[in-house]
């Protein structure tokens, strides 16, 4: 598959580079933008970024493997991130995670991101989302939800078309 970055996106990325005295600094912002556009970070995306920032591919690859938000495989159209850490766990996040997995036919004990066969949903546990006072909290793609009951969870699923 050929890897093409749309001109508009490339222009945005070129502008980002100007924010920093050293090009390399822009790499995380590049990866965010590319993952947002392509859904994941492919080998081609890594090479493309490295070339743009005048780096070796390993300099980018090591970021993709280090930072938890980047993934090397496509995820579902909707990624549900449930907070796993203490305050949310005390507030019922395990039940919420289980509820999503049950509803979507996923393995709640599986390691890492679990994706439905039709590729519509992915569910994963993430570490503290910094809203411990409204536990349990979660994100659906970039949208943030707090105090998520099972009923609210179903509503969120229903809103994913």
């Amino acid at each position: 598959m050929s890897f093409t970055v749309p001109p508009q996106l490339e222009a945005e990325l070129n502008e980002l580079v100007t924010h920093y005295p050293q090009k390399r600094s822009a790499s995380l912002m590049f990866l965010h933008a590319l993952q947002e556009h392509f859904g994941y970070i492919s080998k081609e995306a890594i090479e493309w970024t490295a070339q743009k920032l005048e780096l070796q591919p390993i300099n980018i690859y090591e970021l993709v493997t280090f930072y938890p938000m980047f993934r090397q495989e496509p995820a579902g159209k909707y990624v549900l991130k449930v907070c796993r850490t203490l305050s949310c766990a005390l507030g019922g996040s395990h039940k919420l995670h289980e509820h999503f997995c049950q509803k979507l036919g996923l393995d709640s004990h599986g390691h890492g991101l679990q994706t439905t066969k039709d590729g519509k949903f992915s569910v994963e546990f993430v570490e503290c989302l910094a809203s411990c006072g409204t536990a349990p909290v979660m994100m659906c793609n970039e949208d943030f939800y707090e105090g998520v009951s099972n009923a609210k969870a179903d509503e969120i699923l229903g809103g994913c078309k």
């Binding site: 930072y67 203490l86 305050s87 411990c132």
Partner: protein
């Protein structure tokens, strides 16, 4: 009855208060920046001239402001370490990587009142002759990043940012930089590495003190969101007025995040040290859920050492004659400030209290944190990388029916071998403290769990199979 004192969150939750610049300007926004830029150089006694920026730096020092990110280090002192003679540019980074479990105060500021933080940041940059600054915001705050970008554009349009700010001749640019889900980026040298486009491996100190060799090997200041907001108020009120808030050596206000098993979890802004832990959880956060009793309390984010309900501490207090008197204080009666918590063997860290009641299995609570630290260790130093994972594995087996009686001691042994100069950054301490304190204070529960598992397994093996017991020692064939 302790009262909230809203300085930083004064407007944030007012109905109709929006994060746009017009709303901020209606509430007196950027007036303090104008005031700061207008401070004239003054001549002091020995004929030396003190510039405006220098006066602001002195004020921040005088105000007693301590960093709100976790370490509680004097902000003025931090600024005074900056190498101003190197000829290199000085950078300032706002640490908006809020990710200490239990903490959710910066989220409120960033989402509800971004301009307050930006104004504080511009003033701080002006005070330190910074021309280029960054806001490092955690990747999980995409909305926060959008709000900040919008706010920066608004500030730029009004010439609060950019070239020749308000005709003062001062230039400054601020950009938003997004993290990508790594807790270690909250550590300032890890954050700097990350901003340079690398893995967030913290740097060793010495020589890499940010004030001297920070971003791009230039002098760099890293301040927390709430700290930068405070700078604005110090300039607005004057250092001595600011220092009247709170208690001596613990000045100003603090936004305390309270979560866990209380009726009204949330964020409460109080004068530092003017409310006790008990008042915070019982009066502000509505107390424990009906029918439950307090079991444990994490006072300053998940890395701080846990308190056991009913714990007592001997604290020194100044008596009326100026002499130190030792008094016994119950945990709930400790004033919630930097020094009292330090004296009680823990810390107020990022100002985050997690309340744990008697319905919670304390071993499971620690196992949850153990998993967090195992996941978040950056992997650079062996004791931390291996130790955090090891502790998490032991805690996992203790909570999955595979525990052993001696696991409690084993956990402490591992934890004791991580911190104390064996690692580059304080993550080593951060992952050990919960384990050391949970096990020390609730040891019987850890032992009981391991013992019960051993007994059950023994009963299962002896009852379930007719296989003869292996007697290796008695076997003549054994090697």
């Amino acid at each position: 009855m302790a009262q909230e004192y809203r300085l930083i969150l004064k407007y944030a939750d007012e109905p109709g208060y929006t994060p746009d610049i017009d709303c901020y300007l209606r509430h007196g926004g950027y007036e303090t920046l104008k005031k700061a830029l207008a401070i004239a150089p003054k001549t002091v006694a020995d004929g030396k001239t003190v510039s405006g920026p220098e006066q602001i730096r002195d004020d921040v020092k005088l105000s007693g402001l301590r960093g709100r990110g976790g370490a509680g280090f004097s902000c003025g002192l931090k600024w005074s370490f900056v190498d101003r003679r190197s000829g290199k540019p000085i950078y300032l980074i706002c640490n908006a990587d809020e990710s200490e479990p239990g903490t959710f105060k910066d989220r409120q500021i960033l989402h509800k009142d971004p301009h307050q933080m930006i104004e504080g940041m511009i003033i701080s940059c002006y005070a330190n002759d910074v021309k280029l600054a960054y806001i490092y915001i955690r990747g999980e705050f995409p909305e926060g990043a959008r709000i900040l970008n919008r706010a920066l554009a608004e500030a730029r349009a009004k010439n609060f940012l950019g070239k020749n700010i308000l005709g003062s001749g001062y230039d400054l640019e601020i950009y938003v930089h997004r993290g990508a889900g790594a807790y270690i980026c909250g550590e300032e040298t890890g954050l700097i590495e990350s901003l340079e486009g690398k893995r967030a491996y913290p740097r060793i100190k010495p020589p890499y003190f940010p004030a001297v060799l920070g971003l791009y090997q230039c002098p760099t200041i890293v301040n927390n969101v709430e700290t930068l907001c405070n700078v604005k108020h110090i300039v607005a009120m004057g250092a001595s007025e600011f220092a009247k808030l709170g208690t001596p050596n613990n000045t100003g206000t603090r936004i305390v995040s309270i979560s866990g098993q209380v009726k009204k979890p949330g964020y409460y802004e109080v004068e530092v040290g003017k409310a006790t832990i008990g008042q915070l959880i019982n009066e502000f956060a509505g107390g424990l859920l009906d029918g439950r009793k307090l079991k444990a309390l994490i006072p300053g984010g998940s890395s701080s050492k846990v308190f056991k309900a009913g714990e007592k501490f001997k604290l020194k207090k100044k008596g009326p004659d100026g002499m130190d008197i030792e008094t016994e204080v119950e945990m709930l009666d400790l004033p919630y400030d930097f020094d009292s918590l330090m004296a009680a063997g823990t810390m107020s860290g990022s100002g985050a209290i997690i309340v744990i009641d008697d319905s919670t299995d304390i071993v499971e609570a620690l196992a949850n944190l153990g998993e967090f630290y195992a996941h978040e260790s950056c992997g650079q130093c062996t004791p931390c990388r291996e130790g955090s994972l090891w502790m998490s594995k032991v805690l996992h087996r203790l909570t999955h029916g595979e525990g052993r009686k001696q696991d409690a001691d084993y956990l402490v042994k591992i934890a004791d071998n991580i911190p104390g100069g064996r690692t580059i950054c304080a993550f080593g301490e951060a992952c050990s403290w919960p384990v050391q304190s949970f096990v020390a204070k609730f040891k019987d529960e850890f032992v009981a769990k391991g013992e019960a598992d051993e007994k059950r397994r023994a009963a299962q093996t002896s009852g379930a199979s007719a296989t003869p017991e292996l007697k290796i020692a008695a076997s003549p064939q054994s090697p």
